[in-house]
Amino acid sequence: MSIDRRDFLKMIGASAVFALGGMGVVDGIVKDNVEAEQFRPEPGALLAKQWAMVIDMRKFKTEGDYKRIISACNNIHNIPDFSDSKHEVKWIWTDTFEHAFPEQEQGYAPESLKEMPIPLLCNHCENPPCVRVCPTKATFKRKDGLVMQDMHRCIGCRFCMAACPYGSRSFNWTDPRPHIKKENPDYPTRMRGVVEKCTFCVERLAEGKMPACVEASNGAMMFGDLSDPNSEIRKVLESNYTIRRKSELGTGPNIYYIIGGADNAREGAKRE
């Protein structure tokens, strides 16, 4: 789906100059396009009203468990590797429990819990501040809950980065292409000056596949439709204690974490 849409938007971009007089018209076409493609999904595509993810920390045992999911995403999506952390582009990465959940601060928690690496990615918020602030609708929310990014419309103002309370967004401070280790020709590369982030693997969902990180996680990550009471993730959420990052901000994050009990915390120490 993404390719069609991109090409279409490129076309719109080219004709934008002529369309100055008919702004409303252009807008209408773009909107219709988005909606049309959501109503006419390709056969076999995975559909949902609200996609969400559960990450079960009890199942992350070794360093390799983290590496696998991260490189699955990096390799498919042509994520560049910048040595300078200031210019870093990342869709999924890890940080310690303490940093991921600062509001859970507790001095006497086991060190192993505080230091436990947590996989972090865009939360595809239900009420996303990044979408609210974007002056061009380059970042937008789809009807199935995915928060998407249109690289061809983004003007690179970085308002969305200031608005995202999770640090989920990366900006291309310079041309990322020379920093891509091995390019995947099936996925577009990006250019300097635009913002990007995890897409919940929209291109794979359209082909009936689960997100790459989920597939690579050996069951440690689950993905499904939150609005379907019979979905696997609804069952998991009903039978486990889960937490979300900074849910007090009202953003409605759609990544749920199962941290696990003391056993898991003890295990956590071994993962470093």
Partner: protein, 390 residues
């Protein structure tokens, strides 16, 4: 009228040429940025806005402050501002132009800037900001230029200017309020998430803008025969005094809320800015400079004797301007990003290319201001002695 800007003394031309030189250097650095990307600046994934947006914010304030002359003159018929008011309006014009340039140089994809208008997004504060700024620019150009033109011919300005002037008053408040909303509505940025942000912005704007205007008026009087009037300068000094006092008061309110509530997210940016946090404190010296300058300026402004003496008033205005430039044009932006959402710290400091690009935008602002003032002053010099009713 523009031809008036084409004849001038040697000093005038030296000044104009130096500005052009600074602009030239900045353009070269900008081309480098355009080609390589915003990676030439000191900004990062964690501190994703820097000096450009800070300067934008600061100069929106300068632009809005013209209203501090417009209100007394047009609404209260305070005649002493008669000769000053045009300087304020033209300052607003050049400040808004600078704001637009700062936004432009901050964009990752500047060639797509029209997307903002091709896909108007009413829920985005940035979209609103662009709209109100553009409107304010048009208002001030129209008002300033028409008044000048009328004055040149020795007439009072046409009647349709008055309603525009009245519109420009709430409009000035709106540009700075909307600019504050860019910051004040973001979840998770505690340093910005404060209802008093717009009020603080207006207070600091009404201090910094008129302070700059006093400095400019004194320069104008030095280099030309045009005298904005001693009384006018004195009155503006009073405005600066009140506004600066309000600004410092508002800042102290923030400090109280952060430290009495003792919520770490509220306190940490203050710690980072004024004391250093987790071993990082690149802005500490700068922020204290701002604080000390604020105190000095307040003393000079509040004591009537120093406020009414032009030399000390000039020093006070310099201190106000520098203090607020640091606080709002630099510290404010960085404080929102440090610490980052993970509670860790990435520091920011502008790079050389970034600084030269900022300098060039100032130089463009100064050039536009010089030209506008030159026209205004030449007309005043020719018409010396004729008092015009606005």
């Amino acid at each position: 009228m523009l031809e008036k800007a084409l004849s001038g003394s040697r000093n005038y031309w030296t000044w104009v040429l130096s500005l052009l030189a600074v602009i030239g250097v900045g353009v070269i650095f900008y081309l480098r940025q355009f080609d390589y990307g915003l990676g030439v600046t000191g900004m990062s994934r964690d501190v994703s806005w820097g000096l450009y947006i800070g300067q934008f914010t600061f100069f929106v304030g300068v632009a809005a402050s013209a209203v501090m002359l417009v209100i007394p003159f047009y609404l209260h018929n305070y005649k002493k501002f008669g000769r000053m008011v045009i300087l304020g309006e033209f300052l607003a014009v050049s400040a808004v132009l600078m704001c637009m340039l700062f936004i432009f140089v901050d964009m990752g994809q500047p060639t797509r800037v029209v997307n903002m208008f091709l896909h108007p997004t009413p829920n985005s504060v940035m979209f609103f900001d662009a709209v109100v700024l553009f409107g304010y620019l048009l208002l001030n150009i129209t008002i300033g230029w028409t008044s000048m033109n009328a004055e040149k011919k020795g007439f009072a300005p046409p009647a349709w200017v008055k309603p525009l002037v009245y519109i420009s008053i709430p409009w000035a408040f709106s540009i700075h309020t909307v600019t504050a909303f860019l910051y004040a509505g973001l979840p998770g940025r505690e340093y910005w998430l404060t209802a008093i942000m717009a009020a603080r912005f207006l207070a600091s704007a009404f201090a910094a803008g008129p302070a700059l205007l006093i400095i400019l008026a004194i320069i104008v009087r030095k280099v030309s025969k045009f005298d904005p009037g001693k009384e006018a300068i004195k009155s503006i000094g009073k405005i600066v005094a009140y506004a600066m006092a309000a600004n410092v008061f508002f800042l102290l309110l923030e400090v109280f809320t952060a430290f009495y509530s003792s919520i770490p997210g509220e306190k940490n940016p203050f710690f980072y800015l004024y004391a250093g946090l987790q071993g990082h404190g690149r802005l500490v010296l700068l922020m204290w400079t701002s604080a000390i300058l604020a105190v000095i300026s307040l003393v000079l402004l509040i004591v009537p004797k120093t406020r009414n003496t032009e030399k000390t008033l000039l020093a006070a205005c310099g201190a106000v301007f520098a203090s607020l430039w640091i606080d709002k044009g630099f510290g404010l932006v960085v404080g929102g990003f440090v610490p980052n959402p993970f509670g860790t710290i990435t520091e920011y400091w502008p790079t050389i290319p970034e600084s030269f690009i900022v300098l060039a935008v100032w130089a463009i602002g100064a050039l536009v201001l010089t030209i506008l003032y030159k026209v205004a002053i030449s007309i005043r010099e020719e018409n010396a002695g004729i008092e015009i009713e606005h």
